[in-house]
């Protein structure tokens, strides 16, 4: 015999047959697709929400000043591999912090020296000291506040804007005045929308003491995005002169930490290590303390990496539901082939070769999975967008995830359809025609 055989059935004819078969069993087809819909949908949703979370966190970290360098005292380890573990440039102290003695603190002199030595490379050095959190009660309103002593460089380092009045000035610092900058939302809640808060005063109870502060400036309230959202109570920041904070707290003249802003963004890593070694040089002979410099940037990459790991893990779990969905498809294909044994026998008697039967059923299973996949993508994008809007950061659905989902659902169709299809292809036409 010559090698000529029955011509293969066109793809279009196979797809048409697949749709006809699915249409004949609509409910069953939808239920079968459900597994794929849920699987693909949840993977897409999780990836989108994860992207949104990452974007939201990097946004809020950016607003906190990702390029800023935090210079802080750090306990020396008793031996070299001891308490401080360096992770991606972030030092995590293993033992509880003990307070440094007053003479160990970073001083204004060091900072002045540093500014002289580094010159143009330093844009701002912001010292701050927390007075602590407290409560402001006026009439029936009670608000939580977080009182921070700030210096003149603080707005530059923290990206603080003044929308009304002014920021603290040298005069306030020198005179250790009880003036403050508050947020617009805080002012509104305290004095009402129509009252200009400038010049007004309020009493704040901090650590059992009550202080009165006069408002000189207002800054927009920033809820901090997704990061702060997870905190329980809203606490409004109140900025007072650093000198005032130190006087009220009765603390020493030095600092445990401060923030440095570099003038150019490019040479951050070098600037970071130069800054660290400059201050560390003051502490070479100190028994228990040294200085570390770290930046938001390095922390951010760690956090982002952690999120993507978690995201991957959850997506992997969601992918298991895809596997279950695939098994469902296989199950239904087996049932369908048993039901249609006579049809398969007839097709074979009419001249359908095994591979035509196989192609017909694989096409049917791929069509189920592909439709399920597309519905799943639509659902996942909607769900992901909803989740992202809850996080307050609109993430676009990842094109990669969508493309991969389409490809993956087709692969599921081929993989889970091929066993039932080859079972159908191998049916003996005589047996199949006799099947009741």
């Amino acid at each position: 015999m010559s090698g000529k055989e029955v011509a293969p059935v066109g793809l279009l004819d196979n797809i048409r047959m697949a749709f006809a078969s699915l249409w004949a069993n609509k409910m069953r087809a939808v239920l079968t697709m459900l597994g794929i819909i849920i699987g693909i949908g949840s993977v897409i949703a999780i990836v989108t929400v994860g992207d949104s979370l990452t974007g939201s966190i990097s946004d809020s970290m950016q607003s906190l000043g990702a390029g800023n360098i935090t210079v802080s005292l750090s306990q020396k380890s008793s031996d070299d591999d001891g308490e401080a573990v360096m992770m991606e440039g972030v030092s995590i102290r293993m033992f509880g912090p003990s307070r440094p003695a007053d003479e160990d603190l970073l001083t204004d002199d060091m900072i002045a020296e540093y500014r002289r030595a580094f010159g143009d490379r330093v844009a701002a050095v912001s010292r701050s000291e927390s007075l602590g959190s407290g409560t402001v009660t006026q009439k029936s309103t009670s608000l939580n506040v977080n009182i921070t002593g700030a210096d003149l460089d603080y707005p530059a380092a923290e990206g603080l804007e003044i929308t009304n009045g002014r920021f603290l000035n040298q005069n306030d610092l020198d005179g250790r005045k009880k003036v403050c900058v508050v947020t617009d939302e805080f002012a509104e809640k305290l004095f009402g929308e129509r009252t200009d808060p400038i010049g007004k005063s309020f009493e704040a109870a901090v650590n059992g003491k009550v202080y009165t502060f006069y408002i000189v400036g207002v800054t927009p309230y920033d809820d901090g995005g997704a990061v702060a959202m997870f905190g329980s109570d809203v606490s409004y920041p109140v900025y007072i002169p650093l000198t005032t904070a130190k006087k009220l707290a009765g603390s020493a003249a030095g600092y445990q930490s401060f923030t440095v802003v570099g003038s150019s963004a490019g040479e951050n890593a070098q600037f970071l290590s130069d800054t660290e070694s400059f201050f560390a040089s003051y502490y070479t002979r100190n028994q228990s303390w040294t200085v570390r410099a770290s930046s938001m940037e390095s922390m951010m990459s760690t956090v982002t990496e952690m999120i993507s790991t978690v995201q991957l893990a959850i997506a992997a779990i969601a992918a298991i539901s895809l596997l279950v969905g695939g098994i469902g498809v296989m199950n239904i294909m087996m049932v369908s082939i048993t039901e249609r044994t006579r049809e398969i026998g007839t097709r074979k008697a009419l001249g359908a070769p095994g591979y035509a039967i196989r192609l017909q059923f694989i096409t049917e299973s791929v069509v189920i999975c592909l439709i399920g996949g597309v519905i799943g993508i639509v659902l996942g994008v909607i769900l992901g967008a909803w989740g992202a809007s809850l996080l307050g950061y609109a993430a676009k659905p990842s094109l990669l995830a969508v493309t991969a989902s389409v490809g993956f659902s087709m692969a599921i169709g081929v993989f889970f359809g091929s066993y039932p299809a080859s079972k159908a292809a191998k049916l003996d036409p005589i047996e199949a025609l006799r099947y009741e």
Binding site: K4, P353, L433
Partner: protein
């Protein structure tokens, strides 16, 4: 229609030779096992183009096995079978598919139309596997449905057709690729006498007007009597061969 080019280079396909040439055919099931069962014990059968042959026999006589082998659904265990010059016992599975597709038109007792598929699409099915383009498939199916008087039911599904109508669609389907042989297995077995008559008349028409070779397998002696030649099968052997009237019955 296109059968020649498909089977070109085949041995023995000389024009003017027999359509079916079966020599010393033996069919054994479970060969080499303790329950070995020989169904056909050396059949010789020659059918010439344009003949209308009936194979009759009681159940258990080996009719079904005979029909499976003639229909290229099964291969003989021993002996030779040439169909339209093609060596069937040596054909591979895909080649058997091609033989069934192009050379044989099956008509079954239980019709075996594909459910939830229109009469039109059912008739198109063999042409789908023959690689006929969609437009030509549709045109040919319409032509065939008209031939069996089912044009007005082209869009109906099998469940909306009576038994006789189903069988007429099935005959149209069997004719789709213009096969060399129409192989009918108890085509009227599930029909009442009146619709049986209609169906038999279609076979007669195809035989007389188009010169189709028809092999009819039946246990009904009256139907067999209408054929040109009657072969009686008993216990796996052809025990008698005689001429039939070849005339349509009146039932």
């Amino acid at each position: 229609m296109m059968t020649r080019e498909l089977f070109e280079g085949c041995t023995g396909g000389a024009a003017g030779g027999p359509l079916i040439a079966i020599r010393s055919l033996v069919k054994t099931y479970y060969a080499g096992r303790p329950n070995e069962l020989e169904i056909l014990h050396g059949i010789d059968l020659t059918v010439w183009p344009g003949e209308f042959v009936a194979i009759v026999g009681e159940s258990g006589s080996g009719k079904s096995t005979m029909m499976n082998i003639i229909g290229a659904l099964d291969r003989p265990t021993r002996g030779t079978y040439h169909l339209d010059g093609v060596d069937v016992e040596k054909a591979t599975d895909p080649q058997l598919s091609a033989i069934r597709n192009r050379k044989i038109g099956f008509v079954f007792q239980t019709f075996n139309l594909i459910g939830r598929t229109t009469a039109q699409k059912n008739v198109e099915l063999p042409m789908l596997y023959a690689g006929v383009p969609a437009r030509r498939r549709a045109a040919r199916a319409r032509e065939l449905l008209q031939m069996v008087g089912m044009s007005d039911r082209a869009k109906h599904q099998p469940s909306e057709l009576s038994g006789g109508q189903k069988q007429r669609v099935a005959i149209a389907r069997a004719m789709a690729c213009d096969p060399a042989l129409l192989l009918a297995d108890e085509p009227t077995g599930a029909l009442d006498s009146q619709t049986s008559r209609t169906v038999m008349d279609i076979f007669h028409d195809l035989h007389e007007q188009q010169g189709k070779t028809v092999v009819l397998i039946t246990h009904n002696p009256e139907l067999a009597e209408e054929c040109g030649r009657i072969l009686t099968l008993k216990d796996g052997r052809i025990i008698s061969e005689r001429k039939g009237s070849g005339a349509r019955g009146t039932a």
